[in-house]
């Protein structure tokens, strides 16, 4: 009897062992294409891409996150697209005419088709844009049409004061779109690649109703790829090349195979087995791969900064205290010793590498332009600190800093705490670690002293950052207010400089200088993502704004 039990045990173990061998035959050999793919439709010339988070929404007017934007743009073209350098170049727009006053744009459409065979018409844009401002849709990015795009009546429609039909976009005929703006917007063309401005086929939308964007059958493609395998919040999904794309000769990939992997070790192992062509690596893994030629640091656009609450905390209302703190920060140490992912130390209120001026130069290329007020200088910091404390009549200060409960922010905050306490005698910083949603709420409610936060650019213009510090802006967490600053920003958005590109550009420097001189924020670093990109793959275009990755020109060799 005892033998039988033992025999059964052995049989069970063997059975499990057998299934193991069975598995090895199908997966071991092929490695790259099938094992990590989520789709039977995938082929070996698909690009296998790792994502950190699943898609939140495939509705172009509802999506807000970078992952969703990237995937929507894989299969949808707007009027404009980004070129390799991030410049706006025509996509569906055949011809663009701008009126002399800069307030009327007339776009003529190319011949393009939706994947159900319908032609892409002017009405698709009208319908999509009207959805973006429709209060019933409650699009989070509606401000791209109102505050930023300055499209006629957009603000009133969002506020429920006017009907969406009154939005300043009209279909003159099937191929011609007329857009009316309140004021000239110098970067208007560069908004056109932002997914909130993408067209939606009205007839198709009405036919699928609430299910829009939840499966391959409920989305339409007019872009380089077609979605052929997808479920809401899927951990893997697939797009194939769109043969009916008007520019299909340009697209070299057979398809895109997305895989969501939240565990960084698993992601790297998958990359090393060849199951992924590109993957993110975290700070701890960088040491392991940094000498690999396939390792790349790719700009992610986010500026991380510390926001002092100048309204509620009287110590932080003192300019010398603020200057002392920003001078005491060793940003180089944060990026090289803590983050290690290629993130760049930043000494300007507008981060580098996303906004290019009329002369083609980067707005923040010169990181030393505010070195009088923002550099790493412990002795200057100590001087400001002493002066500040004297003005306050204090000998020591206790401040708290709210921080997201995520890995990188917590590490950064710990170093910031240490740096500040070391350089500024009498200062004690306590960290308040909170879930991100709570941290954002606390900062929006003004319920914080110092806050470690970030901001990603929405469009390729310094205004996406500078617009935040005007009086009463909801992202002006510290409630700073300066009438000169407000005046400059108004001049550059709706005022006399709106059409004067060079004049506006120069004036924006003046605005940034006020922010820096007053230490309204303590910029820390511009985030980079450490990525591995297979040497077999070329031509993936990375952008810090709007569309983080574009695959239209990507090539994967065998």
């Amino acid at each position: 009897m005892k033998k039988k039990v033992l025999a059964f045990l052995c049989a069970a173990v063997m059975a499990i062992g057998m299934t193991g061998c069975g598995g090895s035959q199908t997966t071991g050999g092929s490695g790259s294409s099938k094992s990590a793919s989520g789709s039977a439709k995938s082929s070996s010339s698909d690009l296998n891409v790792m994502l950190e988070t699943p898609v939140e929404s495939l509705d172009p007017q509802q999506a807000t996150d970078g992952t969703s934007f990237e995937v929507i743009a894989d299969y949808t073209d707007g009027l404009y697209q980004m070129d390799a350098d991030g410049k706006a170049v025509p996509a569906l727009a055949e011809k663009t005419e701008v009126s002399d006053d800069g307030k009327t744009y007339t776009f003529t459409l190319k011949d393009a088709k939706w994947s159900n065979g319908d032609a892409v018409t002017a009405n698709d844009f009208v319908f999509g844009w009207q959805r973006a401002v429709d209060p019933d849709v409650a699009s989070e990015y509606s401000y791209m049409l109102s505050d930023i795009g300055q499209i006629k009546n957009a603000a009133d429609i969002i506020a429920g004061k006017k009907d969406k039909k009154e939005l300043g976009i009209t279909a003159v005929d099937d191929k011609t779109i007329k857009v009316e703006l309140n004021v000239p917007v110098s970067y208007f063309e560069s908004l056109m690649y932002f997914p909130t401005f993408y067209p939606v086929n009205e007839k198709f939308y009405e036919s699928v109703g609430d299910k829009f964007g939840t499966s391959p059958d409920t989305v339409l493609s007019n872009g380089a790829f077609v979605l052929d395998d997808y479920q809401p919040a899927a951990t893997s999904f697939h797009l194939k090349k769109n043969d009916d794309y008007y520019d299909s000769s340009r697209v070299k990939l057979a398809g895109l195979n997305y895989q969501v992997i939240q565990d960084s070790q698993q992601a790297l192992m998958n990359y090393q087995t060849g199951a992924l062509d590109t993957t993110l690596v975290n700070g701890e893994q960088v040491d392991q791969v940094k000498d690999d030629p396939e390792f790349k640091a790719i700009g992610a656009g986010y500026l991380w900064y510390i926001s002092p609450n100048m309204d509620k905390v009287k110590e932080l209302a003192n300019k010398n205290i603020r200057l002392a703190m920003t001078m005491a920060l060793d940003r180089e140490a944060i990026t090289t010793d803590v983050l290690k992912d290629g993130s760049k130390p930043t000494y300007t209120a507008v981060p580098m590498d996303f906004a290019t001026g009329p002369d083609g130069s980067d707005f923040s290329a010169d990181q030393e332009k505010f070195k009088d007020v923002c550099r790493t200088d412990a002795s200057a910091a100590a001087d400001y600190w002493k002066k500040g404390l004297e003005e306050l009549g204090e000998s020591k200060l206790e401040l708290s800093m709210v921080v997201d409960a995520d890995d990188a922010p917590q590490k950064v905050a710990a170093v910031v705490q240490q740096q500040l306490q070391k350089a500024l005698p009498g200062l004690t910083i306590t960290l308040k670690v909170e879930p991100k949603k709570q941290r954002v709420q606390d900062m929006q409610d003004g319920n914080f002293q110092l806050g470690l936060t970030r901001w990603g650019p929405d469009y390729a213009d310094p205004m996406t950052y500078l617009g935040m510090w005007v009086t009463d802006n909801s992202n002006n967490y510290g409630l700073w207010s300066n009438s000169d600053y407000d005046k400059i920003i108004a001049e550059c958005t709706t005022g006399k400089l709106a059409t004067d590109t060079q004049g506006r550009w120069d004036r924006l420097y003046d605005a940034e200088k006020i922010v820096m001189d007053d230490a309204v924020i303590f910029p820390l670093y511009t985030q980079c993502n450490a990525e591995m990109v297979s040497s077999k793959v070329t031509g993936i275009e990375y952008h810090p704004v709007a569309l983080n990755r574009v695959y239209k020109d990507a090539v994967k060799s065998e």
Partner: protein
């Protein structure tokens, strides 16, 4: 029996309603809201609250939710997968978690039982020691350690199994996660089987049965194992629910699109409807399995059945 069942089902429904109410109140206590985002202004947040009826008093939200739920509508997701009906989200994910959980339970229960029997019959031998060591490791090492170790060894080094879950290779890609998840069950079951069997084997009625000259097979399966099974099922039942409702870490490691990872993401991003629906389903599964277990007791041990019918 029927009357008993009816009573149990009615109590279960009432319990579930209470759970739902408690969940609603807990949601209100969660820090932040689904719409705390850097890019959202106060006006936009108010519009979103109004759109989803979150500006109403909790009690009205509760009754509206219950009314919708009775019609099979669990609401939509606020931010994990915007405006996707929860029923659709769960319908695609729950079967995957149940499948992997079921494999894990099967592997864990069968191997655990065998290990336990081996240890009991070979009491105080090297086999017993080996089985005990395996059990201790299984209970004390968390499943994600097994998950990482197994995927490194069998996925990355030997390449026997895929590192990540894929629906096209459902079975192969479920092997590593199932084994990782089964370790705890296996170890617990092995330990319980061993101690229960030892107790039963030493009891008077076993001595009687043995002295009657019953064969080994009848002795073990008819008399010993059957009596030892009751406590084992009691231990196994909650483990089954636990495994079938998905594991956060193991699902995350193997990129399994199951409900465990969904729940945690939902809690972190305050996606109320997803949290409520999943917690509710967990509770329902738990209560359901417990009911099944009570019925199983009766089948395995007639004494329990009689006692219940008498009451």
């Amino acid at each position: 029996m029927k009357k008993y069942l009816l009573k149990r089902v009615l109590t279960s429904i009432f319990t579930l309603l209470v759970i739902l109410l408690v969940l609603f109140i807990l949601m209100q206590l969660m820090p932040g809201s689904p719409f705390n985002d850097e890019k959202l202004t106060a006006d936009q947040k108010a519009a979103l609250y109004a759109k989803y009826g979150l500006d109403q008093p909790v009690i009205i939200q509760f009754f509206r939710y219950v009314a919708n739920m009775l019609r099979g509508d669990f609401g939509v997701s606020y931010n994990i997968s915007k405006n996707t009906p929860i029923s659709q989200l769960i319908a695609t994910r729950l079967p995957i978690s149940i499948y992997i959980g079921f494999m894990a339970v099967l592997v864990g229960a069968v191997i655990g039982l065998l290990l336990g029997l081996l240890a009991a019959f070979k009491h105080d031998t090297i086999w017993d020691t080996i089985a005990t060591i395996i059990s201790v490791i299984g209970v004390s090492v968390p499943s994600y350690v097994f998950a990482l170790a197994l995927s490194y060894q069998f996925g990355f080094k030997l390449r026997w199994f895929p590192i990540l879950f894929s629906q096209q290779q459902m079975f192969q890609s479920s092997v590593l996660p199932s084994i990782s998840l089964s370790m705890f069950t296996m170890a617990s079951i092995a330990r319980f089987t061993r101690s229960e069997m030892l107790e039963v084997l030493g009891s008077d009625y076993m001595l009687l049965a043995e002295s009657k000259g019953l064969s080994g097979k009848t002795l073990i399966f008819r008399h010993a194992l059957r009596n030892a099974l009751i406590p084992i099922i009691t231990v196994l039942a909650p483990l089954i629910v636990d495994l079938m409702t998905g594991s956060l870490v193991v699902e995350k490691i193997f990129a399994i699109p199951g409900v465990g990872s969904l729940l945690v993401t939902a809690i972190q991003s305050n996606d109320y409807n997803v949290v409520i629906a999943l917690s509710f389903i967990y509770s329902a599964m738990y209560i359901g399995i417990m009911l099944v277990v009570d019925i199983l007791y009766g089948i395995i041990d007639p004494r329990i059945r009689l006692a219940k019918e008498g009451s």
